[in-house]
Amino acid sequence: MEISIKKDQWINLAIVATALWFIWFASGHFDEYTIRILNNIAIFIILAVSYNLINGVTGQFSLEPNGFVAVGAYVTALLLVTPEAKMYQYAIVDPYPFVLTLHANFVTALLLAGFFSALLAFTLAAPVFRVRGDYLAIVTLGFGFIIKILAINNPEVTNGSLGMNDIPEFSNLYWTGGIAIIAVISVLNIVNSKFGRAMKAVRDDEDAATAMGVNTFKAKTLAFCTSAFFEGVGGGLLAALLTSISPDLFDFFFTFQLLIIIVLGGLGSTTGAIIGTVLVIGGSEWMRFLDEPMNIFGHETTAMPGMRMVVFSLLLILIMLFAREGIMGKRELRDLFKFGKKGGK
């Protein structure tokens, strides 16, 4: 037992070191297009491993990401855009005076984005988790719409449908990649603790969990708020990457993509979420051609925007019907190496 713990720690260190090296290497050597994709992948890794916490590990079906990402993005944008830029871009009405005073450095902005999202999550959790029932999905779906409605209808704060621009481009691979590493380690540490065990128990058999003294309400709320925190931070990183955000950026498709990612990777597996992100975000780029006019065996088809999404939704249905476990199932990278030792299944 003692020896294998040390070996595990060395492997972990090696993985993190490789990741850090890769971030350094990519920043210096890859072209802009590739770096943009890598930034996207890093941010979506943060979103995916946290979305996986509530959906996969705790087994509570939620559709929250687009809402909390939007919240995080707007909070960050409000804190990063300079007062001059705000005065200039708020075109529908003038911004409230307090909006002009909002200012913070990047780290503070990201932390506030995360905490504000977590706070909102907490207020949602109380009515939803108190009752038995599958209302989390509908409530979080509605929440996403509400955030959009709030953003559009409060132009003095958010500049309404025009969205916010001139967000300083603070995000680079060091930020996105670094925070991704932190997020992954945090989530893994949570899962491998009494809190993670409680979440898994809730997923496997909520009544038996209660019978073992687990406070299931607390477990679900913790998972949900933690997800929201990282989704808020991810939203902030996204805002500082895109430099420009608007209410319809964070639509249902945003959440849907994350859903496919964690299902493909394996609901409940953090490693799976990472693999899923690489495949889906990478694959999404590659699949752009589906939206363009295509040449199939000499036939020219017209552009079919949205075909990508049709393919995605079919993919999701097929996975659920035929390969529900996804790539990793509930296992982590660890578990693959354990295969010979304890006698496989």
Binding site: S193, K194, F195, A201, D207, M212, V214
Partner: protein, 255 residues
């Protein structure tokens, strides 16, 4: 007296599952709750564990009323249970299943678990060692890293009891623990329960159909029929009681 059921009635809509039932369980007793199917035995369990609120009456544990307490709070007061159809956590190992029982006794915070402060490490080590001890007691420690639901039925039953004991209970509720077992497994289980009662300082309340098992194990029994008490006393007296025999009408497993 460690547990007192005080004039408890439970109605579900129009159906009366338990009618004005009272009984007491003394410390370290092995107390059997028996009766034909549908007599209200599992309902009584669920009232004790807090999953159902009694329509009338109350449950007193160590002279403290359990009314209004949530199930997980009642566990922390010292009452643990197993289920008739063995509900182990299917995605987790045997060790993790037992660890869950200890978790509310582990003293580290959320933040400490993320940054892996020393208190996290020492507490995790402490409860892991305690879990292995309990598994060892039941001879299950060699299966610690197996997926819990991969084990045989008898082995899973032992793990479930180990898991319940991890919560450090004073009162252990066993819902048909011998269900689905052959005579030799049943005999072994009876020995284990008796030994655990002594070694862990437990009081045991169990639901059972197997009269031989009940005879071998229980100090006292309560016979329920249609939610009402029809007999309270020793198992051997119970078998001879006229009302009990009528209620069962041959439902006895007297092999």
């Amino acid at each position: 007296m460690i547990l007192k059921i005080d004039n408890v009635t439970k109605n579900f809509g129009g159906v009366t599952a338990i009618k004005e039932t009272s009984f007491s369980v003394q410390p370290k007793e092995i107390f059997g709750l028996i009766g034909p199917n549908g007599a209200g035995k599992t309902t009584m369990f669920n009232i004790i564990t807090g999953n159902y609120e009694p329509t009338k009456g109350q449950v007193l544990f160590r002279n403290e009323s359990l009314t209004g307490l949530k199930p997980h709070q009642i566990v922390r007061k010292g009452i643990a249970r197993t289920f008739q159809n063995i509900r182990l956590f299917s995605s987790m190992s045997v060790l993790d299943n037992v660890l869950i029982g200890f978790d509310f006794q582990a003293r580290y915070s959320f933040f400490e678990s993320i940054v892996r402060f020393p208190r996290f490490i020492s507490e995790e080590k402490r409860i892991k060692n305690r879990s292995m001890e309990i598994l060892d007691y039941f001879g299950m420690s060699k299966f610690a890293h197996e997926k819990a639901t991969d084990l045989s039925y008898g082995q899973q039953r032992k793990v479930e009891i180990a898991r319940a004991l991890a919560t450090n209970p004073e009162l252990l509720l066993l819902d048909e623990p011998a269900a689905g077992m052959n005579p030799s497994e049943t005999e072994e289980l009876g020995q284990i329960i008796k030994k655990a009662r002594n070694d862990f300082d437990l009081t045991v309340l169990l639901i059972e159909h197997d009269m031989k098992f009940v005879n071998q194990l229980c100090d006292k029994v309560l016979v329920l029929d249609y939610g009402k008490t029809i007999f309270e006393g020793t198992p051997s007296d119970a078998i001879q009681d006229k009302e009990v025999i009528t209620a069962y009408l041959g439902d006895f497993h007297n092999d």
